[in-house]
Amino acid sequence: MGRALERSVTMTAASDAVSFFGRAAASIFDRPGVGMPIRIAWRNLVNDRGRFGVTLVGIMFSVVLMGVQLGLLLGVISTTSTIVAHSGADIFIAAPGVKSVDVSAPQLERRRFQALGAPGVARAEIMSLDFRQWKRTDGVAEIVAVVGVSPNATMGLPWSIVGGESPRALLSQPDGVIVDRLYAEKLGVLRKNQLNEINGVRVRVVGFTQGIRTFTQSPFVFTSLTNERRMTGLGHDHISYVLVRVAEGWDPRDVRDRLQKRLPDAEVVTAAEFAGNSAKYWLFTTGAGASLMMSALLALLIGGVVVAQTLYASTMDRLPEYAMLRAIGSSAGYLHKIVLTQAGLAGVLGYVLGLCAVTIVVWQSRDASAAPEMPSWLAIVIGVVTLLECLVAAVVSLRAIARIDPVEVFR
């Protein structure tokens, strides 16, 4: 009973929303000042509500799928490079062959001192990153990516600390680790100061971050280098990365080249390059990127086909009137304007509805481990692509119009 009532209320609300939307649009397109091609295009659309509904659903479907897939792609890109992007470093020095920040390899700490001696280097600090076993209090094991940085570091520190506490203060606490709230449940962390184990070493959750996602599904756990070394058992001179900040007035690419010459057996990349490499590594080695892009492309294609079909059917319905217009002296361009306006109006309305749906999806998944991102530039790009999609879909109808012979009006 309750569910039926809820469903009824939801459907009424949806119907009211569509009705409101239709009235609002009609109040725009039926105003006296609106040009005839726009008026004809609008009336053509709303005259057949069933067909208009199918068109809007088709465009909405296309926008939602494109938005979610491309948003997820962006989410994956930013997730895979989040450690690099938030490190504050200009250059990363890694072991040879390291292509992604998550897939590190040990190197000797002396590279830090070699880097410090290079011209243009203002600071060089170290970071460790390795996958380890986290044991929950209920005995369940999870794999985590342990990030070790010095509490005195200026680069590579955790960010978005809940409660605004200082990351340095938190990392200075003996056996202290910082986990992200998104993964607290996965790691069985119920509260602050809870004790857990990483590789058999006791750790204490001293703080939380908010929104530091991981593509590998192994949550990042930040701790001090001292703790990290206790967990990993690696020697004191083994690290994962040297993080470099260049001196003021230096171009990071110049400094990178100088460092690469100085450290020929290391992988020296700018932070932007490393972020890009990390994203590419996961997108193309897992096939996630190709899959997301294919889905977005498919959505574009399906939306285009739906618009093309419904627009063509609507144009064919109006052929006698279009032939009449040609007979009384209208140019073919006038008819093209009507059809293109019709396609454009459907595209804009479908896009607005689709964007509302995408916004809801993005909002709903804000706490999920894989969340789509919808920056305003992506929303604009999808809008432009949708409009182009609809205009291209109108080509079939334009061809039908081009074939109109005005004498057909006498048949």
Partner: protein, 237 residues
């Protein structure tokens, strides 16, 4: 324009459809003119070529041979764009099926024709209302075509044809789908447009009921005008 002056003239019009074995000659050297202030009826059986002749005189179709002269100028060789402009500015068309936009009101249907002439906004609305009032539809300005009778729809079509005050009115079977009363009303309107506004009106029809409204009647058969052009009074006699 002086009443009785030749406005539109078709000379030695030959028109062929198809080629080779499928060629069909629809018109064989037809001569005909339309004059200001009179109604010219084109009558004849189906396939006699009367609609083809109307299309050629209305610059919708180029004749295979012959010339069409409008106000002394041969328009048969005009470019497509120039013919579009000529039809827009000087010719009004009334079609058997009206071809009104079913989604537009009567006023908006007339405004479409005005829009093609560059008359827009409030001016177009005012002019559309005036035209609809002139055809007796002042009380149906916001009606949709589906809310009108056949005769009323035809009068909306006439109002639309009058947008821009055309010199020539070309009508294809304007009364064919109407009852006697509506047909009479439409023809009375046509007569008024010819007589009072001094327009040349050319009507293609099968409808024998309307011959009394005509000034001249041309009978076509197999693409030729049969006999002499006769005045309507002679036909009735």
């Amino acid at each position: 324009m002086i009443a009785g002056a030749v406005v539109l003239s078709a000379e030695r019009i030959v028109h062929r459809f198809g080629r080779g074995e499928t060629e069909h000659v629809a018109l064989h050297g037809v001569n005909l003119d339309a004059r200001a202030g009179e109604i010219l009826l084109l009558m004849g059986p189906s396939g006699s070529g009367k609609t083809t002749l109307l299309q050629i005189m209305g610059c919708l179709l180029r004749p295979s041979e012959g010339s069409v002269t409008f106000q002394g100028e041969n328009v048969a060789a005009y470019s497509a764009a120039a013919r579009d402009a000529l039809r827009r500015r000087h010719f009004g068309f009334v079609f058997q099926a009206n071809n009104l936009f079913p989604t537009l009101t009567t006023t908006e249907n007339v405004m479409v024709a005005l829009d093609l002439l560059g008359v827009r906004g409030a001016a177009a609305r005012r002019e559309a209302h005036a035209l609809l009032e002139s055809v007796g539809l002042g009380d149906r300005l916001d009606a949709l075509p589906t809310q009108l009778s056949g005769g009323q729809r035809q009068r909306v079509g006439i109002a639309r044809a009058l947008a821009g005050e055309p010199t020539v009115l070309l009508a294809d079977e304007p009364t064919a789908a109407l009852d006697a009363h509506s047909g009479h009303r439409v023809m009375a309107l046509m007569r008024k447009l010819a007589r009072e506004d001094n327009r040349a009106v050319v009507i293609v029809t099968h409808d024998g009921r309307i011959t009394q409204s005509a000034d001249r009647i041309a009978r076509l058969e197999d693409g030729r005008i049969i006999g002499k052009l006769r005045a309507a009074s002679e036909t009735q006699a």
